[in-house]
């Protein structure tokens, strides 16, 4: 039962939705940061790797905790059975429940539950045998029921962890970030700007979609750690298939950060007053928001002021945080257990099935790639693991290349990745029905010297842009493009004759003065004239033979 509201947006009157940007005591001219680049640059994250906050130099330390909201990959919403897609038309996927029609009731989508459970297991959490749903109340135009169904009193899972190491971009040692809890909750709708300044339009497509909220302990010390954590979490959730399609730009992962600062010498004492920055929707904003908060809080304290506990927003244009509401007007969410939903009782069997459905986790995978039979370098292994879908391609390709892991990895992190970066429509190798057979064919042609390395890359590019038709083979295309290297041919002899005739001086030098480096001139010229269709080794051998030099 799907009611379409496409023809009209739910039209509501507006009010001031955002706090006006006010004067913020921003970066005060002192440079607290040391800029460095993360060794990992993963294409589908927007922006540059965040700066690194170096607390040791200035005598300050920062404490950072995160709340991540991950849209659950599932064909349907959490409670309504409506389809969910980030790219639906406005108000296309809305059932009476999603629009909070009176009398409607939630019905838990078991697939979302299983997905949240898989994420919890991947984070090493303790799973609650009995969890329950609660209502969190507040009035907002994109919250149709006036409450959000979440898990406040009895979350699905608690006490997990995620360990950050050098493979995740940490320069100095590792950091264990505790996962305090994992809970399932509903997403809200979206408010859009209307025709006039005072209009707000509401799109309920997203309303009621399933989210997993992951709450960390206050365990991170720098923006680098926090951004590494978010990146790693993104990759992990994507890897296990829990994160909804799309990336930050589609809002499938959103982040709130809690930041407090204190003097370094007070390490171990109580935490400073913390501020929360809400709704960060890119890794770059997470980094920038934390950096700005740290510098703002330090300046405030150094000026003799104190930090007010408050919720702040992030302005991506000025890269500063702005106050939204302070503690005095903090919301009273009036949590109560949701009387429409019975508690979730998980059987050992169900948990075991979810556990069994998890793929090998990224850290395990990375470790395995650096060990025999692959024995890749940690750097290459990280590149592969951090690009969704590429490890699978790597393993299949290596098998087809009779175990030549190095060649396989180099082709993937080289030409395949660069193709991926250049094609904005493709986000990962998993989404692309990537032809591993085709890639293997190309590599084999290069290995048996039927085509040159350079031609191989060119050929691959062509094949990725324009897939093979059924009747074509990779060799056919290579031949069509005149990439096949030929070993013999009258053409070569004729060319040699011609070149030798017009370059008698060079031949003298080679033959009489042993200037063998000049052989390269002949080989290069022939390659150039023949469009490199001959194997350079063959050409080299021919020239040497004709000149009678070894």
């Amino acid at each position: 039962m799907l009611y379409r509201f496409k023809e009209r947006l739910l039209h509501i009157q507006s009010f001031a939705l955002c706090a006006a940007p006010s004067a913020v005591n921003g970066a005060s001219g002192r440079h607290y940061y040391v800029t460095e680049r993360s060794p990992l640059k993963v294409s589908f994250f927007d922006g540059e790797p965040a700066n690194h906050w170096n607390g040791m130099e200035t005598g300050w330390r920062a404490t950072i905790g995160l709340e991540l909201h991950c849209q659950i990959r599932s064909g349907q919403k959490l409670f309504s059975g409506a389809p969910f897609s980030a790219h639906a038309e406005v108000n296309e996927n809305v059932t009476p429940f999603d629009a909070a029609f009176p009398g409607t009731l939630p019905r838990l989508n078991p697939h979302c539950l299983a997905q949240a459970l898989r994420a919890s297991l991947a984070l090493g959490c303790a799973i609650s045998a009995k969890s329950a749903f609660d209502r969190k109340h507040y009035f907002y135009n994109d919250l149709p029921q006036g409450y959000q169904i979440t898990q406040h009193f009895a979350p699905l899972a608690v006490n997990g962890k995620l360990i950050l190491g050098d493979a995740d971009g940490l320069k100095d040692g590792s950091r264990t970030v505790s996962i305090q809890q994992v809970q399932i909750e509903q997403d809200t709708g979206k408010s859009l700007e209307g025709d006039t300044e005072n209009d707000v339009l509401v799109d309920l497509n997203r309303a009621g979609a399933g989210l997993i909220e992951i709450v960390t302990g206050p365990d991170m010390r720098s923006s680098t750690e926090a951004t590494s954590f978010v990146r790693k979490m993104f990759l992990l959730l994507d890897h296990i298939g829990v994160l909804a399609e799309g990336g930050f730009e589609d809002g499938s992962l959103r982040c709130d950060v809690n930041v407090s600062v204190g003097r370094a010498e007070e390490e171990g004492s109580t935490l400073g007053t913390r501020c929360e920055v809400k709704n960060l929707n890119s890794i770059k904003s997470v980094g920038k928001a934390i950096e700005h908060e740290i510098s703002r809080q330090i300046s405030e304290i150094e000026r003799g002021g104190s930090i007010v506990p408050e919720t702040r927003g992030f302005d991506p244009f000025t890269e500063t945080t702005v106050p939204q509401r302070n503690k005095e007007s903090a919301r009273e969410y009036r949590y109560i257990p949701d009387p429409d939903l019975p508690p979730v009782l998980l059987s050992e069997h169900f948990i075991a099935r979810c556990r069994a459905s998890l793929p090998e986790l990224p850290d395990d995978l990375r470790l395995r790639l650096t060990q025999p039979p692959y024995s890749l370098s940690p750097y290459i292994a990280s590149l592969l693991v951090n690009e969704p879908g590429s490890t699978d391609v790597f393993e299949r390709l290596t098998k087809m290349l009779s175990g030549d892991a190095e060649t396989s990895a180099n082709w993937i992190v080289g030409p395949v990745f660069s193709h991926l970066r250049s094609d904005p429509t493709t986000k990962s190798l998993r989404e692309k029905s990537f032809g591993v057979d085709m890639l293997a064919e190309v590599i084999k042609l290069v290995k048996d010297e039927s085509i040159s390395n350079l031609s191989g890359k060119y050929l691959l590019q062509r094949l990725l842009d324009k897939p093979l038709s059924n009747s074509q083979s990779v060799q056919d295309v290579a031949r069509e493009l005149a990439l096949m290297q030929e070993s013999t041919g009258d053409e070569l002899d004729l060319l040699c004759d011609e070149l030798f005739r017009s370059n008698q001086d060079k031949i003298d030098l080679i033959v009489n003065k042993q200037r063998h480096s000049l052989i390269g001139f002949f080989v290069g010229t022939i390659q150039q004239r023949t469009n490199r269709k001959y194997n350079p080794k063959v050409v080299d051998a021919l020239v040497r033979k004709r000149l009678g030099v070894e």
């Binding site: 009157q13 909070a100 009731l105 019905r107 149709p144 409450y147 109560i336 429409d340």
Partner: protein, 502 residues
């Protein structure tokens, strides 16, 4: 309908009068009735309800041109895009929906006087009752399903569906002299019943006889997959074997809880109850006194839990999607919501939302909300201790070892109690200035609601005298969770002895 409805005011919206006479358009009442007539004549009715006029309380969604207002001016023009499970089931069974009945706004009230569409008048006071006893003044019909009760009592429909959260089916049925049956919580799916207090809301049936109620119950019961709180357990809880025949109650133990007989109980109620017990023992039943010690706290617990859930359930009527948007936009969002809700919602609803909102705040949550939930559980355990069969929701309770000085309490099949402690109040005195005076009307019906138990009120007597003025007196049969059939059989047995004057 044309005779009583102008006085009784039991409907908020109804099928056009002309529909019943000449309209032969598809879906018109006449057409539906006619085709049902043909089916009956052919011997192939859809069900026992084929062609039978049924009314729906106006908080039960019906996908039709009739709005679903919940008697709130906030939902004055709300037309539901879907039908409630119970409504679809009676429609599929061939019933003709004659209209949507009046009620207290969002089912909050015990007198059907808190609605945007006027008060419901008890038809027993306007000469509509079957024995022709005419009261001297207009009385309240009871609430919140007062319109449903009045429509049935005045003969405007065969039966009606209502909702019972703390007694909203049983109290008006008792006041209007008809049968009101509230099954176990979740026996009839709540999908399409506009929520008041979700953990208590139960679809109930109002009919003139227990038999009529059973016919409707058989059509609407059973899970539908859309309500996760629906009870998917068996048809009966094992008690059925103990009560085979309403005319033969040998071996059946009827408990009378002493807490339901307070000093302020009206003499007519006591007289009714005792003649009913005499009647049941003549049929072979054993009558035993029992104690349900936490009954006293049930009312208070109810008036914390129900408002809390109401405050949550009614948050959606904020003027953005639902609710009349009477106030122009405001810079301050919360001020705008507040103004809209202040205008659109009635006094009683606002009172309960305020109470509910308060008990849910962080500072009051433990002392009020959790505390009340604890009492709710104690009320449930009280019942479990006296019933012969264990509660299928949580199995047998640990039994305290019995000793000669502390004998194990008697185990009963059903409990018999008054449905209300006093006669239907005069309409002129309602709503009372102190809302608590209205709240106490629910004292006998709330415990079964808190425990989710099936309960049925049956009219047993007419009470003479100035206080009662010929008004009917009902008695309530309460059974163990899931034991609807036992409750209905004993209710039939009660019915067999009814009709006396006290």
């Amino acid at each position: 309908m044309s005779r009583f409805e102008p006085t009784v005011n039991s409907f908020i919206s109804k099928r056009k009068e002309s529909d019943c006479v000449a309209d032969v358009s598809p879906g018109g009442t006449k057409a539906v009735g006619d085709s049902a007539q043909e089916r009956w004549e052919a011997g192939t009715p859809k069900s026992l309800l084929d062609g039978v006029p049924i009314a729906l309380k106006d908080n039960i969604c019906l996908h039709s041109d009739l709005p679903t207002t919940c008697a709130s001016s906030h939902l004055r023009r709300h037309v539901s895009p879907y039908s409630a499970t119970c409504a679809s089931r009676v429609v599929s069974a061939g019933a003709v929906i004659v209209g949507k009945t009046n009620m207290d706004e969002f089912a909050m009230g015990s007198a059907s006087v808190h609605g945007a569409f006027g008060k419901v008048v008890n038809p027993c006071g306007v000469g509509a009752d079957r024995d022709g006893i005419v009261g001297e003044e207009q009385r309240v019909a009871g609430g919140s399903s007062g319109g449903s009760a009045a429509a049935v009592a005045a003969g405007m429909c065969y039966a009606a569906l209502g909702s019972d959260t703390g007694g909203s089916v049983r109290l008006p049925a008792s006041y209007c002299g008809i049968v009101g049956f509230k099954p176990s919580y979740g026996r009839i799916p709540r999908w399409g019943l506009v929520a008041y207090a979700s953990s208590l809301d139960t679809v109930g049936i109002l009919a003139r006889t227990v038999g009529c109620a059973e016919v409707v119950y058989d059509v609407v019961k059973g899970p539908d997959g859309k309500d996760m709180s629906a009870w998917a357990g068996g048809e009966t809880n094992g008690g059925r074997a103990d009560v085979r025949d309403p005319g033969d109650l040998r071996g059946v133990v009827v408990g009378v809880p002493e807490e339901y007989l307070p000093a302020e109980l009206s003499p007519a109620t006591i007289a009714t109850l005792s003649s009913c017990l005499t009647h049941l023992s003549r049929l072979g039943a054993t009558i035993v006194p029992v104690s349900l010690p936490h009954t006293r706290q049930a009312l208070s617990a109810y008036y914390v839990i129900a408002p809390a859930e109401a405050s949550s359930n009614l948050a959606r009527y904020d003027g953005v999607r639902y609710g009349e948007r009477t106030v122009e936009r405001d810079e301050d969002a919360n001020g705008w919501y507040a103004a809209t809700r202040t205008q659109g919602l009635g006094e009683e609803v606002k009172r309960r939302i305020m109470v509910g909102t308060y008990v849910m705040t962080e500072s009051a949550y433990h002392s009020y909300f959790l505390h009340s939930q604890r009492y709710r559980r104690l009320v449930q355990f009280d019942f479990d201790r006296v019933f012969r069969h264990p509660n299928p929701l949580h199995g047998p309770l640990p039994q305290p070892s019995s000793s000669p000085s502390n004998p194990a309490p008697a185990k009963v099949n059903v409990l018999l109690t008054p449905t209300s402690l006093s006669p239907p109040p005069p309409l002129s005195s309602y709503p009372p200035s102190d809302p608590v005076l209205e709240y106490v009307n629910d004292v006998a019906t709330i415990p079964a609601s808190l425990a989710g138990l099936p309960a049925c009120t049956v009219p047993f007597a007419r009470a003479r005298g100035a206080e009662w003025g010929g008004m009917p007196v009902g008695v309530q049969v309460i059974g163990q969770f899931g034991d609807e059939e036992v409750v209905l059989r004993v209710a039939r047995a009660v019915e067999m002895g009814g009709g006396m004057d006290v």
